[in-house]
C-alpha cells in the first residue's frame, strides 16, 4: 500500500466562466466600415510599397501650419512599353514641384512635372457625412488627360460612393457593416467610351489580430488577401490574384516589420519575383529609402535608393 497522493482539489470554475461571457452584439450600433476602395488596405500597404529604380529625393518644406511645398527629383531608367518581350529602359530625370494645403475640411494637392504633366487633387468635406473628392491629370499628349469626381456619403454603419469621370465613366459602390467584424459591399461601373459595364462584390472580416478580405468582379478578377498581425512590430501578409478570363494566377507572401528606426517590407511572388523596401529614419525628418526588386524569370533587376527630407 504505497502512500496515495491525495487527489488535487478541482479549482473553482466560476470566475473563469464569468470573465469569458461573450458581449451581446448590438446590431443597431455597428462600427462604420472601411471605404470600398480601401478594402485591401492592409494587404496593399504591406505587400505593395512603391518600388522604384534609380534615385529619388523628396524635400517637403512647411511654410505654415496648413500649407507646404514639396520638391522632388527622380532620376533613373524608366520602362517603356515595347512590343517585344524585352523591356526597354530609358534613363530619364524628372523634377516635380508640388504644393499642399491641408485643412480638416479641405485638402488641396497640386503637382507639376518637367515633362509637362499637371495633376491636382481636391478633398472637401461638404458636410459632416458628405465628402467630395476630385482628381485631374493634364498631359501634353492628346487624349491622355482625365479627371474624376467622387461623392462619398458616410452613414452610421454604411458608406456609399458615387463616381463620375471623363470618358463617360460612372460608378457607384456601397459597403455595409453586417457584424462588428464583417462588412460586405458591392460596386457597379459603366464606361461610355469603351461601352463596358461591370459589377463587383467585396467582403472584409477583421479582428484585432487579422484582416481577411476578398473581392470579385465580373471583369474576371478575383482578389483574396489575408494579413495577420503576429506581434506589435511584425505582420505577415499574403495575397492571391486570379483572373478567370485569362487564367492568370499570382500569389504573393510578404512580411512587414515596423521597428523603431525603420520599416522593412519584403515580399516573394509566384512569378519568381522577390522584392524588399526599407525606410530608415536617420534623423528627425530625414528618411533613407532602399528598394530592391529581383525578377528571376525575366532576369530584370531593379535597385533604387532615395532620401525623404521634411515631415
Amino acid at each position: 500500500m504505497a502512500t496515495l497522493v491525495p487527489p488535487p482539489t478541482t479549482p473553482p470554475p466560476a470566475p473563469a466562466a464569468e470573465a469569458v461571457k461573450p458581449e451581446k452584439v448590438d446590431y443597431m450600433d455597428l462600427p462604420c466600415p472601411i471605404p470600398y476602395e480601401e478594402i485591401h488596405r492592409e494587404a496593399m500597404m504591406s505587400l505593395k510599397p512603391d518600388h522604384f529604380e534609380g534615385m529619388r529625393v523628396d524635400f517637403t518644406k512647411g511654410l505654415n501650419q496648413k500649407f507646404s511645398l514639396s520638391h522632388s527629383i527622380v532620376m533613373g531608367p524608366m520602362e517603356v512599353p515595347s512590343q517585344s518581350a524585352e523591356t526597354i529602359k530609358i534613363p530619364t530625370a524628372n523634377y516635380e514641384f508640388g504644393a499642399n494645403f491641408i485643412d480638416p475640411k479641405l485638402m488641396l494637392f497640386g503637382r507639376v512635372y518637367t515633362d509637362g504633366r499637371l495633376s491636382a487633387r481636391v478633398k472637401c468635406d461638404l458636410s459632416e457625412n458628405l465628402i467630395m473628392k476630385a482628381n485631374a491629370q493634364l498631359t501634353n499628349e492628346p487624349h491622355m488627360s482625365h479627371g474624376m469626381f467622387n461623392f462619398d456619403y458616410k452613414g452610421t454603419d454604411y458608406r456609399t460612393q458615387f463616381q463620375l469621370g471623363n470618358g463617360n465613366l460612372l460608378g457607384a459602390s456601397y459597403i455595409q457593416s453586417v457584424t462588428p467584424h464583417l462588412s460586405l459591399g458591392g460596386e457597379v461601373f459603366w464606361t461610355g467610351q469603351h461601352r463596358k459595364s461591370g459589377i463587383g462584390y467585396a467582403a472584409r472580416y477583421n479582428t484585432d489580430k487579422m484582416v481577411a478580405s476578398g473581392q470579385i468582379a465580373n471583369t474576371g478578377m478575383v482578389a483574396l488577401s489575408y494579413v495577420q498581425k503576429v506581434s506589435e512590430k511584425v505582420s505577415l501578409a499574403s495575397d492571391l490574384m486570379y483572373n478567370y478570363m485569362s487564367r492568370d494566377v499570382t500569389a504573393s507572401f510578404g512580411y512587414d516589420y515596423i521597428l523603431r528606426q525603420c520599416r522593412l517590407r519584403g515580399k516573394i511572388d509566384s512569378n519568381g519575383c522577390t522584392s524588399a523596401f526599407l525606410e530608415e529614419r536617420l534623423n528627425m525628418g530625414l528618411n533613407f529609402l532602399l528598394s530592391a526588386e529581383i525578377d528571376h524569370k525575366k532576369k530584370d533587376y531593379k535597385f533604387g535608393f532615395g532620401l525623404t527630407v521634411g515631415e
Binding site: M107, K123, N135, E232, L259, R281, H296
Partner: protein, 118 residues
C-alpha cells in the same frame, strides 16, 4: 589442324572484339555517358538553384537581420542608460514602443491621405 590454326590466328582479335562488342560493355558505356550527362545537368541546375536561393536570401533576409541587430543594440543602450540614470527599466520600453507606434501612425496617416485621394 588447319581449322584449329585459322581459329587460333584470330583468337586474340576475336576475343578482344567479343569483349569490346559484347552487350555488357556496350551497356556500360551507354550508362557512363548517361551518368555524365545527368551529372552535368544536375550540377548546372544546382548552380542555378544556389544562385536563386542566394540572391533571394540576400534581398529578403540580410536587411532583416541587420535591422533586428540594430534594434537589439538600441534596446541594450537604452537599458544601460536607464540603469545609469536610475529610471525604472519598466518605463523605458513603453516610451519607445509609443515612438515606434508614432512612426507607424505618421506613415499610416500619410499613406491614408494619399490613398483617400486616389
Amino acid at each position: 589442324m588447319a581449322a584449329k590454326k585459322s581459329s587460333s590466328e584470330g583468337v586474340l582479335s576475336r576475343v578482344s572484339s567479343t569483349i569490346s562488342e559484347s552487350p555488357i560493355v556496350y551497356r556500360g558505356k551507354r550508362a557512363a555517358s548517361d551518368a555524365g550527362f545527368v551529372a552535368k545537368k544536375l550540377l548546372k541546375s544546382t548552380g542555378k538553384a544556389a544562385w536563386i536561393a542566394g540572391t533571394t536570401f540576400l534581398i529578403l533576409v540580410v536587411p532583416l537581420i541587420i535591422e533586428m541587430d540594430r534594434e537589439a543594440q538600441l534596446n541594450e543602450l537604452e537599458l544601460q542608460q536607464a540603469s545609469l540614470l536610475g529610471t525604472p527599466a519598466v518605463g523605458v520600453p513603453q516610451k519607445y514602443g509609443s515612438n515606434g507606434v508614432k512612426f507607424k501612425q505618421k506613415q499610416n496617416e500619410r499613406k491614408q491621405q494619399q490613398h483617400q485621394l486616389v
